[in-house]
Amino acid sequence: MDALFLLLPAVLTSAGAWLLGRRRGRSAGGLRIAVARLLECVGLTVVFAVLNTALGAALTLLARALSQGFVSLYMVTDSVLLGISALQAVALRWWWASVAERDP
């Protein structure tokens, strides 16, 4: 229950941002679209993370087979790879959005 307290500031700042947006004439429908795009970015992050991890593991095993050196498989579970996957996802989502705006 205590952990839920962590969400309280996020709920309050989100509510503040929503009020500010409404005051500046942003529509509630626009927020729905933004949330949908956010979910798409999260989903794309998962897809990139799975692909990056699988490919990283395959390359690690290949490197082990081809050389005397040792690369740990734990390297591909580094959190940085998740961050990179998120950046890939956002870039791809924006790219698709820009194409849709240009060629509707």
Binding site: E40, V42, G43, V46, T77
Partner: protein
């Protein structure tokens, strides 16, 4: 994009459940039975910085191995841990053990193992000629099942002595997600080892 939207929603839901409910407490390994006397204590490798500093996990395992020896549970203490740069984790741990009063003749090191399977194979070659076939195995709670299987496959009788197996059940979302991550990582490693074993 519809698939990604659903995947994103499912991911956020799963993260929320893992972070804000006690679900990860169920992922905690069972508390081990009390350790019983064995022929040797084997402390598996963990991670050491290139500067020769043992990681917290490595230090924790080493200290548990030393404690088991001091309790008279085995006449031999084997420190494992690969070489990274000029130093080997096994040697740094052995030095720590000597500094804490473990006699040099009771200490063995092995810095050649890079994976759990390697370590089990090398330990058998190190200990079997000395008549040591029953080991007290020291590693993390999550890693223990896989490590135990590898050691038993070589011919050892294993008494597990997991480190941190009874973690304080944290209510911090970050700790819960960390636990879930370690569990997922170990699950993937088990699948990989099973696939490798099936391939021969």
């Amino acid at each position: 994009m519809t698939f990604c939207r659903w995947l994103g929603a499912a991911t956020l839901l799963a993260l929320g459940v893992l972070a804000f409910t006690p679900l990860t407490d169920l992922l905690q390994p069972e508390p081990p039975p009390p350790p019983r006397p064995a022929d040797a204590i084997v402390v598996l490798g963990s991670y050491m910085g290139v500067d020769g500093m043992l990681s917290a996990a490595s230090l924790q395992r080493a200290v548990q191995g030393i404690q088991l020896y001091r309790r008279g549970l085995a006449p031999l203490l084997v420190m494992a841990g690969a070489r990274l740069g000029p130093l080997a984790e096994a040697e740094v741990r052995a030095q720590l053990a000597r500094d804490l009063g473990i006699p040099a003749e009771a200490l063995l090191t092995d810095a050649g193992g890079r994976t759990t399977r390697d370590e089990a194979w090398r330990m058998w070659r190190l200990l079997e000629p000395r008549g040591a076939r029953h080991v007290l195995l020291v590693t993390s709670g999550e890693h223990m099942l896989r490590a135990r299987q590898q050691f038993e496959r070589e011919g050892f009788t294993v008494t597990p002595s997991p480190v941190g197996s009874v973690r304080p059940q944290s209510i911090r979302p970050e700790d819960r997600l960390g636990q879930a991550r370690r569990w997922a990582q170990e699950l993937a490693a088990r699948v990989f080892y099973r696939a490798a074993a099936a391939r021969g």
